[in-house]
């Protein structure tokens, strides 16, 4: 599904290198987790894949089912099936949540040559998904993320994912700012979307989210590279011993 080869990225404005040769392969049907200390480049990876301005790819490739992601605009990546659940979902006063979602869904459908959904069809889809995520009608009517609590914002991200039905989902620290109940709700939403033709890349600091969204593979990222990969037990090792032991064992500098 997602193939990243030797990806090098630097910040455009600061001339600072963030990613130093990332290699990653996430096959369809699998959930991969990326863990790593602050500043290791996890969020940068998610932004570069989704097409945010301000990053320069100096080397390497990233493809989604063979299509070159890095050459596409953000909206083209979305239409191709990529989705990023933001660590900090953006508040957009004046744009209704429903208007936003419907515009997004129909734009993607149009880009893929599918028929657009009318208002009634769309509402039916949204209501069903919203109910599962415990999102009430009032929240759907409000402007995008405005006045939402941290948990509501994250649930809203998962709602968008459920409605847009992407093939490759990247979750950037979706657990940050969530209490246990909210985390469970979010994890249930994600688990409901797991399917053989969809893949997930879950970026997180902590192992606790991975209790709920059990990954097939866990990668440890440090200093702009993936330094170790393994099964779910790797996440538990991090939780128990911290990153220091792992980084030492792979010969990374420990800050």
């Amino acid at each position: 599904m997602l193939t990243i080869e030797n990806l090098h990225v630097r910040l455009e404005e600061e001339d600072k290198v963030i990613l130093r040769g990332v290699n990653l392969e996430v096959p369809a049907g699998q959930v991969h987790a990326i863990m790593g200390p602050n500043g290791s480049g996890k969020s940068t990876l998610s932004y570069v894949l989704s097409g945010r301005d301000g990053y320069e790819v100096t080397e390497g490739t990233a493809t989604l089912e063979g299509a070159d992601l890095l050459g596409m605009e953000p909206e083209e990546r979305a239409a191709a099936g990529l989705f990023l659940a933001f660590q900090y979902p953006v508040e957009i006063p004046g744009v209704g949540n429903l208007t936003f979602l419907r515009t997004a869904l129909n734009a993607q459908r149009k880009a893929r040559g599918e028929d657009e959904l009318n208002a009634a069809e769309f509402l039916k889809v949204v209501r069903a998904e919203a109910k599962a995520l415990n999102i009430d009608a009032e929240m759907l009517k409000r402007p995008v993320n405005v006045g939402f609590s941290g948990g509501e914002k994250k649930r809203n991200e998962i709602l968008q994912m459920a409605v847009l039905q992407p093939r490759m989902c990247i979750l950037d620290e979706t657990d940050s700012g969530l209490d246990v109940d909210a985390m469970k709700l979010v994890a249930d939403g994600v688990n409901a979307l797991r399917s053989p033709d969809r893949a997930f890349l879950v970026i997180t600091h902590y192992q606790r989210l991975l209790d709920h969204i059990v990954p097939d593979v866990v990668h440890i990222m440090a200093d702009g590279r993936i330094v170790q990969s393994g099964g779910p037990e790797l996440a538990i090792e991090v939780e128990t011993n911290g990153y220091a032991d792992i980084l030492r064992s792979v010969g990374e500098r420990v800050a």
């Binding site: 301005d53 909206e75 515009t103 997004a104 880009a111 968008q160």
Partner: protein, 428 residues
């Protein structure tokens, strides 16, 4: 300080360009004479005047008016969602044939011409009087010209809740028409009126509306200024509010070479509320000026000024807004916000917010910002598959929405939102 001869000459030329109205009642003649005297004394507006330094008045006073190409008649008339009482003006001249008959429950309407020829007690308390009160401390020479010379317009008295909105439709016919329109409105205590205005009206249009809002009455004003590219307009809204009365005025401006919308609002009675709002979108040769003066005289009054401008291609937006709180106007709640979205480096927003407060128990705030489309929001929207162009348009409409939301009637507000979306789509 002596008034420059150029200003005085220009004032004389303006007065000479319009025929002196004849056959009017004594009180009307007196009001006109007072305005004419004022205009002759203070002169025509000039760039050096304090309140004209951001807007060059030359093209508003030069004779003859510059031509403005007539927009192809493909424009669907606005305010179609409501059953309205339509009063049509063609190049500033009232057209009874094109209008709905002047009969509407709870409302008396008559052409200005007729009223000024007879003795109508209430009209003499309003015509020229609210405008004159608005000449201090800021001179409004073009409104004085309107009082001195305008013969077209309507005089409206509302005694109850008007059964439907009154809609002034300003059509155009001649490319070079120079027009002046004057409306005089009085809402008796407890009355309620929605007044709509639409279309460009003339190559150059000077309108003044005086509105006396009685105790407990409510006046809703929604205006769109037609999208003819080369038109020019100067408008004056002079409102005086009684106890517990309400004013809501909203103006949408798209295109137009020069628009100056002045509002002078006096909250005279206690616990009254006045909201004046505007949204404009301009591209290229576009200059839009909102000059608003809100006076709090009564106690416990609330006022809001909300102005949003989207500018590109060298368009210029101006906001001059003032809140004056008079001595004794305690528990005043005044708010003012003016913001611009500059879509390119060539466009400009000039703002002059002012507060002048002579009471000690008041709440007044103002804010003014200009900026570009927010990149983070744009990325968020595009990352969900919304094309950049559409995402930008969504954000532009969202930016304008705080002003549009000042319209109480949701149907009218939605209609204007659609208009704006269409305008943006046409300009891709």
């Amino acid at each position: 300080m002596a008034v420059p001869a150029l200003k005085l000459d220009a004032a004389r030329a303006l007065l000479a360009a319009w025929p002196e109205p004849a056959g009017e009642a004594h009180w009307a003649r007196a009001a006109r004479a007072q305005a004419e005297r004022w205009l002759r004394e203070c002169g025509a507006p000039a760039r050096r005047d304090e309140y004209w330094k951001f807007t060059d008045p030359a093209s508003l006073i030069v004779e003859p008016a510059g031509e403005a190409a007539l927009l192809a008649a493909d424009e669907v008339p606005v305010f179609q969602t409501r059953d309205t009482h339509r009063l049509v003006f063609v190049d500033g001249v009232f057209s009874p044939e094109a209008s709905t008959p002047l009969e509407i429950a709870g409302v008396e309407i008559a052409p200005l011409r007729e009223v000024l020829g007879v003795d109508i007690h209430w009209a003499r308390e309003v015509f020229g009087q609210l405008e004159a009160a608005g000449q201090v401390p800021v001179q409004r020479p073009l409104a004085a010209l309107n009082t001195a010379r305008a013969v077209e317009g309507c005089v409206i008295r509302v005694t109850g809740a008007a059964s439907r909105p009154i809609h002034f439709v300003y059509r155009r016919k001649a490319a070079g028409a120079d027009a002046m329109v004057r409306h005089v409105i009085r809402l008796e205590p407890g009355a309620d009126l929605t007044l709509l205005e639409s279309a460009a009206g003339a190559a150059r249009l000077n309108t003044v509306m005086e509105v006396e809002i009685g105790d407990g009455a409510a006046f809703h004003h929604v205006r769109t200024q037609g999208r003819d590219h080369q038109r020019r307009a100067v408008t004056g809204l002079f409102a005086r509010l009684g106890r517990e009365s309400r004013l809501k005025s909203f103006t949408l401006t798209v295109n137009g070479r020069l628009t100056r919308n002045e509002a002078f609002v006096e909250l005279r009675g206690d616990d009254a509320s006045a909201h004046v709002a505007g949204a404009c979108v301009g591209d290229g040769d576009f200059h839009h000026d909102d000059t608003v003066f809100v006076t709090h005289a009564g106690q416990g009054c609330e006022s809001r000024q909300v102005f949003k401008k989207v500018l590109r291609g060298g368009a210029v937006g101006v906001f001059q807004g003032k809140i004056l709180v008079k001595p004794g106007a305690q528990q005043t709640d005044g708010y003012q916000i003016s913001q611009s979205l500059l879509l390119d480096e060539a466009s400009q927003f000039l703002a002059k917010p002012e507060l002048e407060i002579y009471a000690d128990d008041v709440k007044c705030s103002h804010g003014s910002t200009s900026g570009a489309v927010d990149e983070t929001s744009l990325f968020y929207l595009t990352s969900r598959g919304i094309p950049k162009q559409t995402a930008e348009e969504l954000l532009i409409l969202a930016f304008l929405d705080e002003a549009i939301a000042e319209i109480e009637d949701e149907g009218l507000a939605d209609e204007l939102r659609e208009r704006l979306a269409a305008w943006l789509a046409r300009r891709r």
